[in-house]
């Protein structure tokens, strides 16, 4: 019961089983055009951008920070890539696509760096620092797209979001690679220890010789990068860039995924695996809602309850109050204390 992945996996399993009960063909996977198709595949595919953003967000939250600007970075990245491609003569040219990818990812990393510098360099609280980009970011995305939705036609670019590799969607591989990289970096090097230390006790960490500034900048940079890749997948999937709506409220879903996964908003210990499962839970939820024919407006209400449920379950106080209710009371209700003095 105590393992941190117990609850997330449990909830995910329940959701999947519920779907199965509702639609027996839920778990079925078909092969078409050499690729696998099915609801489960959809969950993985559509959930890929969220999983990426959440992975990046995990490390930021672990340093006791937060990045509210990821949604904006997703939009900006998509916008920049589509703009670059749309300017080219042959939109499907490999060179052009690669340039577009590099340029937009560089921009995403630069934005992550901006956030990191504000937090580590200027000492601004993360919530405020990233609020700036969250507020201004949509405006920047609109600036890039000139206030319109840029549509492009490029198979190679589309591949990122909608292509297949070894029968599975390409986006899943991207997620797997990023996840593996994150795990390696945080568990096989000292970076993970430093992140947890800085997140838990920044002052003590500095006095122990940890370069907290570098650690902080690194996590925001990584978060920006993850958001950038997510932006590419998202816009690749629809072959267009919408400055206003791309990645809308992603930051909230990402934070949700991280919290469901077991990482505390207070920083310190983090669980990448938990986050990925958390993101899957959110995606499965959306799917469940479509599946059961419940009006999509309910999505928000359901999300609200899921958030609350997960947090309550994770909350010590809640669990204790439940236990208390079932145990016999220790003391007679002697509230005499209130009548003293």
């Amino acid at each position: 019961m105590k393992h941190h992945l117990f609850w997330p996996i449990g909830v995910l399993t329940l959701l999947l089983l519920f779907n199965l009960l509702y639609d027996p063909s839920f778990f079925s996977i078909k092969v078409r055009d050499g690729n696998l198709y099915g609801s489960l595949i959809d969950i993985l595919n559509f959930g890929a951008p969220l999983m990426l953003v959440s992975i990046g967000m995990t490390l930021v939250i672990a340093t006791k920070g937060i990045d509210l600007s990821v949604g904006s970075i997703v939009a900006i990245t998509g916008a920049m890539a589509c703009l670059t491609i749309s300017r080219g003569e042959d939109q499907n040219a490999l060179g052009l696509v690669i340039t577009a990818i590099c340029v937009s990812l560089a921009l995403a990393v630069a934005l992550g760096l901006w956030n990191g510098l504000l937090v580590a360099g200027a000492g601004i609280q993360p919530i405020i620092a990233t609020l700036i980009l969250m507020v201004a970011g949509r405006g920047v995305a609109q600036l890039i797209t000139g206030g319109q939705i840029i549509t492009i036609s490029s198979d190679k670019y589309k591949y990122i979001g909608a292509g297949g590799l070894f029968t599975l969607p390409f986006s899943i591989f991207l997620v797997a690679v990023v996840f593996a990289a994150a795990m390696l970096l945080t568990r096989k090097t000292a970076i993970g220890l430093f992140i947890e230390s800085v997140g838990n006790k920044p002052v003590a960490s500095r006095l122990s010789g940890i370069r907290s500034g570098a650690v902080t900048i690194a996590v925001y940079l990584f978060c920006g990068l993850c958001a950038g890749i997510a932006g590419l997948i998202l816009s690749g999937n629809v072959s267009s860039a919408d400055g206003n709506n791309a990645g809308l409220w992603y930051e909230l879903d990402a934070i949700l995924a991280v919290v469901i996964g077991g990482t505390s908003l207070n920083g310190g210990r983090f669980y990448l695996g938990g986050t990925v499962i958390g993101a899957l839970i959110i995606q499965t939820l959306t799917t469940t809602i479509y599946l059961t024919g419940v009006p999509p407006e309910i999505t928000l209400v359901v999300k609200a309850f899921v958030v609350l449920l997960v947090c309550l379950v994770q909350s010590e106080s809640f669990r204790q109050s439940l236990v208390y209710r079932f145990k016999t009371r220790r003391y007679p209700a002697e509230k005499e204390v209130k009548h003293h003095a």
């Binding site: 609280q125 359901v302 609200a304």
Partner: protein, 322 residues
Amino acid sequence: MLKRQHLPIFVTMALFALMFIAGSFQYTGFFSAQVLLNLLIDNAFLLIVAIGMTFVIISGGIDLSVGSVIALTTMISATLVQDGWSPAIVIPLVLVLGSLFGAGMGAIIHYFKIQPFIVTLAGMFLARGLCYVISTSTITIDNAFYTSMAQTKVYLPGGNFVSISVLIALLLFAAAFYAAHFTRFGRNTYALGGNEQSAVLMGLPVARTKIGVYLFSGFCSALAGVVFTFYMLSGYGLHALGMELDAIAAVVIGGTLLTGGFGYVAGTLFGVMIQGVIQTIISFEGTLSSWWTRIVIGMLLFLFILLQRLFNSRRLLQKHRA
């Protein structure tokens, strides 16, 4: 009462004055009392919601649900009013609902010790979702009371006017100011934000205070929703989208620290006015699209935060160490 700790507010006021004057030089017709009052008229609801937010932030928390509660309030009001309910019942009803909503979040935050960020996030989802459950499209209001509220001009000496909403907002402002500085609830809020653990150990009514600030924020959101209804004469699930950000920006620009314990209600007033001035300047400019507002506010936020940072670090440098 001029003390060093009041410095941030003076900077905010100065900034506002500066922007207004700059606008006046740049554009004809800018420098008029009516333009100034229009700032209030157009942003009355933002002021109301930001006042509630100020208390929450001073107590060390945050409320992300305000925009959604505004929208929900408009939906409920529109639905009921169009169904024939009297505004005399509807308005108090939504105020109570908003307060209960806030109190509910506050209770969960306090008793289960879950972060305010997450709980009010859930609140935001819930309120917004409930809007859509009621209806996914706009509900227009043509009730006589509401339309008259929307159109009534309250004239001031000198020929200028404000709307009723402005009066409501200013009344709330006065009440909030009094509460913050002259009531136990207000002082307990500051104490809570200063050091929650100490507040508990000092025997302060932490539960009451915490739930109280969220209740107040919920009330303000509902009140802002009522005012918004006068303004828009409709109920719609997409109303006030992202307004929580504007409210937070107003509070921060107004000099309140997001960490809690420091801040003034008066600062928030100017924070709102500054946002209003920016919007006005942009509309006077004419050539800029509205998305420039976002960028400018973002930049302002940045500059202001940096300034606050500088002031604070200088103050910290002079602090004694034991």
